[in-house]
């Protein structure tokens, strides 16, 4: 029982991370119809920028990152989100905008190029270098809740960590804000219009370029938030080109596909589904194959229902 609940708890925290990243993939796909391969690298940037701010900027402001006040974490998070949304904007304007009318495959390849570029620039000593680094814990990682299960001697504990709760709440708040933005605001209506049919939207007087840029900025900000939260949960940050990051991005992408790519709510559901499959598989079958479960699920999904859980089929007009 304790193990089961513990796995649920981890799935919720990890799932929130996947969901945040998946949102970026799905929003870009919804509007520009291509897989933004470089999205996972924005997550990396988010994590490493947070780390640099925490280790270099905070001390200059006279704040000890190891005993930071409660608001320092929030400040780092916001700064990192802002930085990444600017980077997202620049990437979109320079690399993707000129390709608005090009075949989608070309855009996909460009995105792969951008991804390689970000990874390898990040590896330069000028930026983050090739060594792993440790994120200072801006939050005391004290267990918030500890429940004992079972009898004395064979007791199992369920631990709900503060970090996990913060991850879940932060991600949840961001997702609710996004939901409000997309489905309840005028801007969101414009975004949905562009996603539905770019040409009609521009005929209706919507500034498509602005909407696309905005989408990239929001997606990148969410990715940065995911990067920050990831660094809170797993403070030993690997170097920017490490495969672990690629895998993180891939799994989040799988989440977006499972949920139905292009669908904002689907991405969130997909994130939690992937996390659950991974965590339960790792715990109950074998942790060696945790990536395996996710990709098998992806391939099964593509075969059975390529449009994902919430996606809809579109018949090509001939």
């Amino acid at each position: 029982m304790a193990e089961f609940l513990q796995t649920v708890e981890t799935s919720l925290a990890v799932g929130a991370l996947y969901a945040l990243i998946a949102l970026g993939y799905t929003m870009v796909y919804g509007i520009l119809k291509f897989i933004n391969f470089a999205h996972s690298d924005i997550v990396v940037l988010g994590a490493w920028i947070s780390l640099r701010i925490a280790t270099e900027v905070l001390p200059k402001l006279g704040i000890d990152p190891r005993a930071a006040p409660w608001w320092a974490g929030g400040a780092v998070l916001l700064a990192s989100m802002a930085a990444c949304s600017i980077i997202g904007f620049v990437i979109e304007r320079t690399c993707y905008k000129p390709l608005r009318r090009a075949p989608r495959l070309n855009v996909l390849i460009t995105a792969i190029g951008v991804s390689l570029l970000l990874q390898n620039l990040g590896q330069l000593d000028l930026f983050f270098g090739t060594q792993p680094a440790r994120m200072p814990s801006l939050l005391p990682n004290t267990p918030l809740v500890q429940w004992e299960f079972g009898t004395e001697g064979a007791s199992r504990r369920l631990v709900i960590g503060l970090v996990d709760v913060v991850i879940f709440l932060t991600a949840g708040t961001l997702m609710v804000l996004l939901e409000l933005l997309v489905y309840r605001s005028k801007l969101g209506a414009a975004m949905r219009a562009v996603s539905f049919n770019t040409e009609t939207a521009s005929l209706m007087g919507i500034n498509v370029d602005r909407i696309v840029s905005l989408t990239f900025m929001i997606g990148s900000a969410l990715a940065a938030a995911a990067g920050f939260l990831y660094a809170m949960k797993y403070p030993g940050l690997n170097q920017p080109a490490h495969t672990i990051w690629v895998l993180l991005g891939l799994k989040a992408f799988v989440a977006a596909v499972i949920g139905g790519i292009g669908n904002v709510r689907g991405a969130v559901i997909g994130g939690f589904v992937i996390a659950a499959v991974e965590q339960f598989g790792a715990f109950y079958i074998s942790s060696n194959y945790r990536d395996f479960y996710v990709f098998v699920l992806l391939i099964l999904m593509l075969l059975v229902r390529p449009t994902g859980l919430l996606g809809s089929t579109v018949k090509v007009k001939v």
Binding site: T110, G113, L116, Q119, L124, V246, D291, F292, F295
Partner: protein, 371 residues
């Protein structure tokens, strides 16, 4: 009056009359392969011994890169199916071939070192292993080709990427290599589950049979096959799928069949390339070889060379696999340069260096315009 036309198509009425004379056909059929053998022999005995081991190794890598890129170009450039799993096929072929020569040598000759001289028994075992590696990869290509039928563009890219990652994870979970003939004799069934392929450390100890001769021979075969496919009914069928699937079907092209065929053929040569790589001296194959970063390197070669241009891709493979040697001092900038090349190419010349054309098309055109 049921017309005869239903039984004998009009197209084929002249086909028999148009068959070339036997001798001529044989020459055209085998000629290119003989040239391939000659080039391979020159590389092995004319070039190899004089350039030193360092350059010889680069030449091996270039040859293998050419096989990988030209074969990926069949599925990617001709059939237009964007695959990000080519390294996965290659690694499967490498592991399959490596396990055959390694364990085969232990069983046959009690030792895993190279057995026999040039064209000796060991070398033939190696050739058989390369072909088997190709077949194993082709089998995987068939399995991956099946979902490809239902998926287009980026979805396929993701599925193939997932395939490569699955291969990588599975290879990581393999067990330790059994190090000697004695240990192999004493091994129990348990030692073979999971298969003893070295796990995440890599499969070491594979005999080093790979030579310039075999690499360039397989290289020639790959190029000849790719070229014959491209300029034939098969190539047209594949390109039609790339250009417009609906129109292709309307012209009677069975797009399912051709997509799977493209995957199978392409995977076969990727497997052979993997096998050659596995037997190179100084190389220890490891699960990372199946990963998606390796696949992307091959994709870059194809993209730079031009979709469907065999000579363009060949050139790109040769350049991109020697470039790192020149950039050794700037190793950390190498991938940055690749990335910029890729982005710049897509922005400025998305069809690649040579687009759909072969290099000689340019000479022809120049001759035409000057005359």
């Amino acid at each position: 009056m049921p017309s005869n036309a239903a039984h004998s198509p009009i197209v084929l009425r002249e086909a028999d009359a148009l068959r070339p004379p036997r001798g001529h056909a044989l020459l055209r059929g085998i000629g290119p392969l003989l040239i391939g053998v000659a080039i391979a022999a020159v590389m092995q005995w004319g070039v190899g011994p004089f350039v030193g081991t360092y350059v010889a190794r680069i030449l091996l890598d270039v040859g293998i890169a050419i096989i990988l890129a030209v074969s990926l170009n069949i599925v990617n450039g001709l059939a237009g199916q964007f695959s990000l799993g080519h390294a996965g096929f290659s690694a499967l072929g490498g592991y399959a071939a490596g396990s055959i020569t390694y364990y085969g040598s232990l069983i046959l000759w009690n030792s895993s070192v190279k057995h026999g001289g040039p064209f000796g028994a060991g070398e033939w075992l190696f050739v058989a292993a390369c072909l088997t590696g190709g077949l194993v990869a082709a089998g995987a290509g068939f399995i991956v080709g099946l979902p490809a039928l239902r998926l287009r563009g980026d979805y396929l890219a993701i599925a193939t990427l997932g395939f490569g990652e699955i291969v990588r994870v599975m290879l990581q979970q393999t067990g330790d290599v059994i190090y000697s003939a004695r240990a192999l004799e004493q091994a129990t069934v348990n030692d073979f589950f999971p298969p003893p392929l070295g796990g995440s450390l890599g499969f070491s100890g594979i005999p080093t049979y790979t030579s310039l001769f075999w690499v360039y021979l397989f290289c020639a075969v790959t190029i000849v096959v790719a070229q014959r496919l491209k300029f034939s009914a098969a190539g047209r069928a594949m390109v039609s799928i790339r250009e417009d699937e609906i129109a292709a079907q309307a012209m009677g092209v069975n797009i399912t069949k051709w997509k799977v065929r493209a995957f199978v053929i392409s995977a076969f040569f990727a497997g052979v390339a993997g096998a050659l790589f596995a037997h190179e001296s100084g190389v220890i194959i490891s699960p990372g070889d199946a990963g998606f970063q390796r696949s992307i390197e091959i994709v870059i070669m194809v993209v730079l060379g031009g979709k469907g241009s065999i000579t363009g891709v060949l050139l790109a493979a040769a350049i991109l696999s020697t470039l790192p040697e020149f950039l050794r001092d700037f190793a950390q900038y190498r991938m940055i340069i690749y990335a910029l090349l890729l982005i710049g190419m897509m922005l400025l010349r998305p069809q690649g260096l040579f687009g759909n054309h072969e290099i000689w098309d340019y000479f022809k055109r120049r001759r035409k315009s000057s005359s």
